[in-house]
Amino acid sequence: MLKHFNKSPVWVLISSAALILLPFVNDSRSLMIMITQIFILAIFAMSYDLLLGYTGIVSFGHAMFFGIGAYSTGVLLSRFEPTMLWLLVSIAVGMVVAAIVSYFVGLLTLRLSNHFYAMLTLALAGLFLVVAEKWRSLTLGNDGFTFRVPDVMRDRLSFYLICLILMVAVFFFLMRLTNSPMGKVLLAVRENEARTQSLGFKTIHYKLISSVVAGVIASLSGSLYVLSLRFVNTSVFALDVTLDALLMTILGGVGTLIGPIIGAAIIEVSHHWLSELGKSYVIFERWIIFFGILYILAVMFFPKGIVGTVKEIRWKKKRPSKVETNNKNKRIAG
């Protein structure tokens, strides 16, 4: 059974150890901020991949849950004392609201074919965006508002470490979940839902669980995101946020957990790099165009993402004869 051993947890642990040491070796502030963003977006992308890659559910409104976490934290910390206690309460509130919303979105649509979920999430995320724009007394609309955060979170190094720990925790939690008997049923739902039902599984339950877990984790990433900015505005509900998650997941590798992390790193680094270039060449300010092109190239040439492609190459190298299955069959008239 040892040959089934998945090496990615080991890699994650080794890399995290390196990442813990990094700020002590290189104390570039902007680098640390960028890597912190990667941790946060990686959490978001992993939650998206639980839906897309592990359950086969497409969501066009995952930003909704990101925004719910973002506003819960922003609003509560601006209204109350910026203490650790209120911070934890705000994160918990975001998660609970996200759980409730994702549960009902799922309940309404997941019995139907999958594109209803995609459409309803798209519409609801749009609705949240409009509400956030109009409810100015709470959100100050598109202008947004700044807020104070607990001192621990103000310290860039400790915030970096907290985000790293949370990303690794989410990674191992999802790893556990997807390797559990229930996680295997999620895969079965992704592969062939009707068949999963006929084996005796109530697939709606599994899709709901996946939807709720993904929503709750996305909300956590939204809370962390606004903590890093100490500012929140309606952009957290924007379609771009969902598309970023989609791009990170597809680029890194759908149906893996390491993939979204790698995808988040690539997108965030190139984002950074393109906006630097944008200072000298105006065209690069339109980085969304480049992401569009990147997206098309990824889908065309690496449909399995970076992780999937690397795995495939290694697989072929290791066992060149395995693909050939018993084709010697003399077919007989049935």
């Binding site: 559990s180 008997p181 592969e191």
Partner: protein, 254 residues
């Protein structure tokens, strides 16, 4: 005692009546074969019995309970298992994972999300044992999508066996298998029959196989139940001869 009954079971696709007012009564622990030319409605009848399709008219009783409106999930749990003619497995999962899902369902391990699946030793062993039964242990780690057609069919059978249902619906289990594979599958079916505690419905075109195994044979033709009887009665029946046995079956390929 009859375990399965249908009354006036009918389904129409648009104007075409694929299953037309079928009344069946299947004896508990019996072996019944269903024959009929291509397009007779055999698979559609199975789809109605296992819950893949809902009838336009009529009802289905399983162990005296009306299951007509129950979804396939619940029917499986109540004891109706089936294999599919057009193989219906999980393509990007391994062969072992495919079977293990069926084992998992049968064991009632449905929502456990903390323990690693590998720590369920019994389930893994059971899945492996079933693969050995259908001679697929060697391919345990291959992706189901890489299997040849006949092998997918063996996988289907392993998954069906894993469910341990009282009623087994087998839709052309040996179609597309190589000659050396058929006897082993036949042996599995014979073993189930001789163990004497399951009820089997078999759709097949191989007449010798049907004649040896069946207690009863049902002939479908154009969605209707044309004839029903013991293998001898069916062999000697003139209507059946004309409609079906008159050469139609031996040019059938699945």
């Amino acid at each position: 005692m009859s375990i399965l009954k249908t009354q006036d079971l009918t389904i129409a696709f648009g104007g075409q009546v694929a299953v037309n007012s079928i009344n069946l009564s299947i004896e508990e622990k019996s072996f019944t074969s269903i024959i009929g030319p291509n397009g007779a409605g055999k698979t559609t009848l199975f789809n109605l019995l296992s819950g893949q399709l809902k009838p336009t008219k009529g009802s289905i009783l399983f162990k005296n309970e009306d299951i007509t409106r129950l979804p396939s999930t619940i029917r499986t749990r109540k004891g109706i298992g089936r294999s599919f003619q057009i193989t219906n497995v999980f393509p990007n999962l391994t062969v072992l994972e495919n079977v293990r899902l069926a084992v998992q369902s049968q064991a009632g391990v449905r929502y456990q999300m903390i323990k690693h699946f590998r720590s369920y030793k019994k389930m893994n062993e059971e899945a492996y044992y079933l693969l050995e039964q259908v001679m697929m242990a060697k391919q345990a780690d291959a992706l189901a999508s890489n299997l040849a057609h006949g092998e997918k069919r063996k996988l289907e059978i392993a998954m069906l066996l894993a469910l341990k249902t009282e009623l087994l619906l087998l839709d052309e289990p040996t179609a597309g298998m190589s000659l050396e594979e058929v006897p082993a599958i036949l042996k599995i079916i014979e073993d189930i029959k001789s163990s004497g505690n399951r009820t089997i419905l078999l759709i097949e075109h191989k007449m010798d196989m049907i004649m040896n195994l069946s207690d009863r044979i049902i002939v479908l033709f154009n969605g209707r139940l044309l004839e029903e009887g013991s293998p001898q009665e069916i062999m000697n029946n003139e209507t059946v001869q004309n409609a079906y046995l008159g050469g139609l079956y031996d040019d059938h390929t699945a």
